[in-house]
């Protein structure tokens, strides 16, 4: 009985995910199509739609697949590893030509990736890495360097507070516990600020990359720690939620509490231009074209580098004002 229920859930999740994914299959794709003919079929297992960043990423993948003439099968895992593994298994059964996915968390992928390897389907990781010791399980990893992003955030902080002699109290809003961006952004940031003992991370909790959680956690931080100088949020959305909490506490975000975030989505850039955020490290989601290129190269038998980094920059408040009108996401 339980198994039946779970199967129902799985089918339902896939159905709803495909439904919301939109018109991704060019030929109206029968569910079992793919393989055999000349068009490339790609199975893409997305993390979810937890932030504006992710939505832009999804759009980029869908649009560039269409432009490249690749038949895309898209699924949304709603931030659950189980769902993603199920989606990848179904892609293997459907015999797609190539599988691409952004792992929800870093660990626990060996079994399902072995299955893909056994079925001779190449796997491309996008945006987030896996921690498997066996590097032959995937062809390449296309995405940002999260450690570097954390370091950039830390460097700005060190420069801003170079002349400060007292303690600098920092609170951190982490991403989803165990996810690569949360781990790496925390590590890169800690490495840079760790050189100077005046920087103190006085509280650090997970806000699950969402606005609602960002606000709730920041509210608790504000009450437990009356003296906060800096907020470092692992993405814009948590920062935006935290801004509301800070305003509710009668403080001025960007002035009383300096805010650093990562991502640079439109809502975040708007807050940066409005002076509510002080610095944003970009993490570009527009990796669709690069992904399609890599997929074609992999399927043509060309060798690809096992690590491809997306091009990224950083934004101050002035730069945000200039960049905002042309921001795509």
């Amino acid at each position: 009985m339980f198994k039946k229920i779970m199967a129902l859930v799985a089918v339902g999740v896939l159905a709803t995910a495909c439904g919301s994914g939109g018109e991704t299959t060019a030929e109206g794709g029968a569910p079992a199509s793919g393989g055999g003919d000349s068009t490339i079929t790609m199975g893409f297992a997305q993390v979810g739609a937890e932030s504006g960043w992710r939505t832009a990423n999804t759009k980029s993948v869908q649009e560039s697949a269409k432009a490249a003439g690749i038949d895309l099968k898209f699924s949304d895992a709603q931030q659950k590893q189980e769902n993603q593994i199920k989606a990848i298994r179904s892609y293997i059964q459907q015999k797609v030509d190539v599988i691409a996915f952004s792992p929800v968390v870093e660990s626990g992928w060996d079994t399902v990736l072995q299955e893909a390897k056994a079925a001779n389907i190449p796997v491309i990781l996008t945006d987030r890495a896996v921690d498997s010791p066996d590097k032959t399980l995937y062809k390449t990893f296309l995405g940002s360097d999260f450690v570097e992003e954390g370091k950039k955030a830390g460097q700005w902080l060190v420069e801003q507070y170079a002349s400060e002699t007292g303690d600098v109290n920092i609170v951190e809003l982490q991403g989803t516990t165990g996810s690569a961006p949360a781990n790496d952004r925390k590590a890169g940031f800690a490495e840079v600020i760790g050189a100077d003992p005046k920087f103190k991370v006085i509280a650090s909790q997970s806000g699950d990359f969402t606005r609602a959680k960002g606000k709730e956690v920041m509210d608790a931080f504000l009450k437990a720690n009356p003296d906060i100088d800096v907020l470092y949020a692992h993405n814009d959305d948590m920062g935006l939620g935290a801004i509301e909490a800070i305003e509710g506490a009668g403080k001025v975000p960007g002035k009383d509490i300096k805010i650093i975030t990562v991502d640079a989505v439109k809502d975040g850039m708007q807050a940066l231009a409005d002076g509510k955020i002080n610095y944003i490290v970009e993490c570009s989601p527009l990796l669709g074209p690069q992904l399609m290129d890599l997929a074609k190269k992999v399927l043509a038998g060309e060798t690809v580098p096992d690590r491809v980094v997306t091009e990224e920059t950083t934004f101050t408040q002035e730069q945000a004002k200039q960049a905002l009108p042309t921001r795509q996401y």
């Binding site: 159905a15 995910a17 949304d76 165990g178 909790q205 009450k223 009668g250």
Partner: protein
């Protein structure tokens, strides 16, 4: 009232932990003309959970369960924000009320659908509501087009993030709903009828209770509560997130109901217990943030506390452990139901 002693004691113990480990936890001050403090936060962020759990209490009293409340939360939030985002002026009170009306109407319709499947078609509640739980998230994503809809509407902001007479508006809503429910179920016969349907639906029907209609009303009311909670959650951050709003709130709500002493076997319920149960869950969450439990161990910490709570709630367990201290009284309620919950 004796039934409420255990949940109340647990809540007091949690607060005591905060009194010892968290500075300023019990400090309440006036900021910008409204109350401000950790205790207020617990009510403010706990309000949606209390509402959902209150609706769930009635459903569980009929020996049912509603897994779809999380999806209803997402759908109503998405619907309201979508409607408001199309208004020419997002601050127009009429437009916002219209959007709220449409969203809550949709919630009630979904609840009636649940009730129809359970009462008329005769599908088991866990399956009937599972359909909407799964499909509803897809529906919410369809409404938001997979995007996070950000709005900027002061009247809408009031519901979940605003204040009235220095109190968070969401608490006032909860208090009004609770008072209405207490009146209707305890001063009128409705509570008794619900309990009798939960005890034995067929016997109730034969004795003249319209159990089918009653079931539909109860599921519709549960969905309405979830709908209002959905408005609060989206209003609190001025945005609708079809994917994450209300995610797993159904499990927290069921947990709150069970901690509050309502039996999953149906037939009796306690509104006060449910409120205490929801407050325990929210206090636990706030405690974790305040005392700084590392995120990696948060779930384990929650699981431990919930296990202890459930053990203390079980008369059979208490009888065994505390036997030496006092004479074991025959359990007046069925021994602790087994529930699997994720907080």
């Amino acid at each position: 009232m004796k039934r409420l002693a255990w949940p109340a004691g647990i809540l007091a113990a949690l607060l005591l932990v905060n009194l010892i480990f968290t500075d300023h936890f019990f400090q309440i001050e006036i900021k910008d003309g409204h109350l401000y403090g950790s205790l207020i936060d617990i009510f403010r962020f706990g309000a949606p959970l209390i509402l959902v759990a209150l609706g769930m209490t009635l459903v569980i009293a009929t020996r049912g369960i509603d897994l779809s409340v999380g999806s209803v939360v997402a759908i109503t939030g998405a619907m309201a924000c979508l409607e408001i985002s199309t208004l020419s002026s997002q601050d127009s009170i009429g437009g916002v009320l219209g959007a709220i009306g449409i969203a809550l109407g949709l919630a009630v319709a979904l609840g009636v659908g649940n009730g129809f499947l359970v009462a008329i078609v005769g599908i088991q509640p866990i399956i009937a509501t599972l359909i909407l739980m799964v499909a509803g998230r897809g529906l919410a994503q369809l409404i938001t087009d997979g995007q996070i809809i950000t709005i900027n509407s002061d009247p809408y902001k009031l519901i979940g993030g605003g204040y009235w007479l220095t109190l968070p508006f969401s608490i006032i809503i909860v208090a009004v709903v609770l008072a209405l429910m207490a009146f209707v179920t305890r001063r009128l016969a409705l509570g008794l009828l619900i309990e009798s349907v939960g005890g034995n639906a067929e016997a109730s029907r034969l004795s003249g209770i319209r159990s089918h209609g009653l079931l539909i009303v109860v599921y519709a009311f549960c969905a309405l509560c979830a709908g209002v909670a959905g408005l609060m959650i989206s209003s609190n951050v001025s945005s609708a997130d079809g994917n994450n709003a209300g995610l797993w709130i159904e499990l927290d709500a069921i947990l709150a109901v069970v901690i509050g002493g309502t039996s999953l076997a149906g037939g009796r319920f306690s509104l006060g217990g449910t409120v205490l149960g929801a407050l325990i869950i929210q206090t636990l969450t706030t405690t974790i943030y305040s005392i700084g439990v590392p995120p990696e161990t948060t779930l384990l910490f929650k699981a431990l506390v919930v296990t202890i709570v459930c053990l203390l709630q079980s008369p059979a367990f208490r009888a065994k452990v505390f036997r030496s201290r006092r004479k074991p009284a025959p359990p007046t309620v069925p021994a602790g139901e087994k529930v699997t919950v994720r907080t």
